[in-house]
């Protein structure tokens, strides 16, 4: 070890012994600090992961969705519309879709029911493929248990669960139920030839506006929704949610600043005397500062790590139970819902700088003032 390292070790030893003296106070300090970091980091992880979810949704979203509007409300659409749309120049494909919501009266949850486009995902007659949230909501104990769905009082329809799928994007698929077309029409009593909506893909995204214009002229009772419309809607939703989180974060930072300022101003007579003694026995101002850096570093880094690790577990292992009620809401099934772990390094670094640096600075400034004076005051 070099003398520099040995000096650091001696200073760190002193710091540890010194922190151990006021165990209660220092544990309380680290706890408060860690709670602030925990709230901020949880909010951050959650927001980052929601953003990731949205981009996943948008990636899969069709470029153009066509809905039939009757009396201002969305209505079933004729499958023939897909053919008309397909004829518009620039449209590469147009397909009608069947999907809807089903309210499960037994557990009070909403499921999204769809006829999948992907032939591999189409279940056999009498079977469904479900997102992992559904068997959980129903409390299924073994795989292969049949799923009974009731549309109204006295009605009971039996489906076999062909399989449950898991997905990285749990937010979007945990409440999903896939059926084949015949079962779907039968279950929701949809006449043949009618669909929920029509989705179209286009050759060149720049042509979307023109295609929508042409389509609207040819089919005036149809509403055309583009991906950017959906994006805007989601953005609004997330902006609102993130705004809420930002407010929370601001409150946390404010509390923290007050707390750090309080600590900074409260250099006790005992601490001042201690610094005087250290200087009198031959510590340099730099030694005192280095020791206090160790102290600030141990406290703030310890609290930061504690806060972020618990926040990570909170958000990604336990599904952010503290935030979920305010942040989600479009699906009733969210217990145990696991967000895909996603950590934005830059944001984490910002958080670290925002919490560690002000804390250390706030504690160092008054120490500097005391430590740079002559030590003779401790002699009397």
């Amino acid at each position: 070890m070099t003398p520099w390292l040995r000096r650091q070790r001696a200073l760190a030893d002193y710091t540890l012994a010194s922190l151990a003296r006021r165990k209660g106070k220092n544990i309380a300090l680290v706890a408060v600090y860690a709670i602030v970091v925990f709230v901020l980091a949880s909010a951050m992880f959650f927001a980052a992961s929601l953003r990731l979810e949205t981009s996943a949704v948008l990636r899969d979203a069709p470029e153009v969705t066509v809905q039939k509007i009757t009396m201002g409300r969305q209505d079933l659409i004729d499958g023939a519309v897909a053919d008309e749309i397909g004829k518009i120049r620039g449209v590469t494909s147009a397909k009608p879709r069947l999907w809807g919501y089903y309210y499960d009266r037994i557990v009070g949850a909403n499921y999204t029911v769809m006829v999948p486009d992907d032939p591999e995902m189409i279940p056999e007659p009498g079977s469904v493929i479900v997102g992992e949230g559904i068997p959980r909501a129903r409390g299924f104990k073994w795989s292969g248990a049949p799923l009974f769905l009731s549309r109204y009082e006295g009605d009971l329809k039996r489906f076999n669960v062909a399989r449950a799928f898991e997905s990285d994007s749990a937010l979007m698929t945990s409440d999903l139920m896939l059926m084949n077309e015949t079962d779907f029409r039968d279950f929701f009593e949809i006449p043949a030839g009618l669909y929920t909506d029509v989705v179209a893909t286009v050759r060149n995204p720049n042509e979307v506006a023109t295609i929508v214009e042409k389509g609207s002229n040819a089919l005036p009772q149809m509403r055309f929704v583009t991906r950017s419309d959906i994006e805007r809607t989601y953005q609004k939703l997330f902006d609102w949610r993130e705004g809420l989180l930002a407010a929370l974060a601001a409150a946390g930072i404010l509390a923290f600043v007050i707390f750090a300022a309080e600590k900074a101003s409260g250099l006790s007579a005992e601490e001042m005397r201690e610094i005087g003694i250290l200087k009198a026995v031959g510590w340099d101002t730099r030694d005192v500062i280095a020791m206090k850096l160790w102290e600030g570093g141990l406290v703030s880094l310890g609290a930061f790590l504690l806060g972020t690790v618990t926040a990570f577990a909170h958000v990604f292992f336990f599904g952010a139970p503290l935030f979920a009620p305010i942040l989600k809401g479009w699906a009733v099934i969210y217990p145990d819902f696991a967000l895909a772990p996603h950590v934005d390094g830059l944001e984490l670094l910002t958080l670290a700088l925002l919490t560690i640096v002000p804390y250390i600075a706030a504690t160092l400034v008054p120490i500097w003032r005391v430590a740079s004076g002559d030590p003779d005051a401790v002699m009397r």
Partner: protein, 226 residues
């Protein structure tokens, strides 16, 4: 040799509560000797010691140590002197509460970056020599008065400073402990250390081994006795 030439010290200079603690001190303190400063309370003994030990600067005047001027040195050098040249036993001992005896004793060595085990070894030796080895890990606030003083002495000696300074070392000690302290001082002298201390206590001025007594009054030297 430590010499002070026309040293004055003003506290709260230029303010209404200005105090002139030292008024033009000229003094030579021999190395390889035990020197005692005596005088009534408030006469400036502690102030003088703090200037000699580089803990405070004189307002005017000059201090030299073995021929080198130290009174005008920048802070960095004063710190260096405090940790290598002077071992200080404070009037109120100034051990840091909550830390153990050995941790207190090792404090002055921390900035030097010496090997931890070696420093600890040296601290234990010092404590053993002062009969405190069995109290090494005890928090200092549980020590008796005499033990506290010896812990403070051990701390003053940890960096092997050649000049040991003690401010009112026997203020709260009974005769037996005072005699014990004087023995420690003579032992330090025998090791070749320079000892400077202040005292109101006749038992100290008259003690065997004391080479010089300097009497102070009102911030000035009143008399010197050899």
């Amino acid at each position: 040799m430590i010499t002070l030439t026309s040293v004055t010290k003003l506290y709260n200079e230029g303010r209404p509560n200005e105090v002139q603690a030292l008024k033009g001190i000229d003094l030579e303190i021999a190395r390889d000797a035990i020197t005692v400063l005596k005088g009534p309370s408030g006469s400036g003994k502690t102030t003088l010691l703090s200037i000699v030990a580089c803990m405070a600067r004189p307002t005017t005047g000059r201090v030299t140590l073995d021929g080198e001027v130290v009174s005008g040195l920048p802070e960095r050098f004063l710190t260096e002197l405090r940790r290598t040249t002077f071992g200080f036993v404070f009037q109120r001992f100034n051990l840091i509460r909550g830390l153990s005896v050995i941790e207190n004793v090792m404090l002055p060595a921390a900035p030097l970056g010496g090997d931890h085990a070696t420093v600890r070894e040296r601290a234990l030796e010092r404590l053993a020599a002062l009969d405190l080895a069995d109290k090494a890990t005890m928090p200092v606030e549980f020590l008796s008065g005499g033990e506290t003083q010896r812990a403070a002495i051990a701390r003053a000696l940890i960096n092997d400073a050649p000049i040991v300074i003690a401010d009112e070392p026997t203020a709260n000690l009974d005769t037996e402990l005072t005699m014990r302290f004087l023995e420690i001082v003579r032992a330090l002298r025998a090791e070749g250390k320079t000892v400077i201390m202040t005292s109101h206590d006749p038992r100290i001025w008259d003690a065997e081994g004391v080479d010089a007594v300097v009497e102070m009054r009102d911030g000035a030297i009143f008399g010197e006795f050899a």
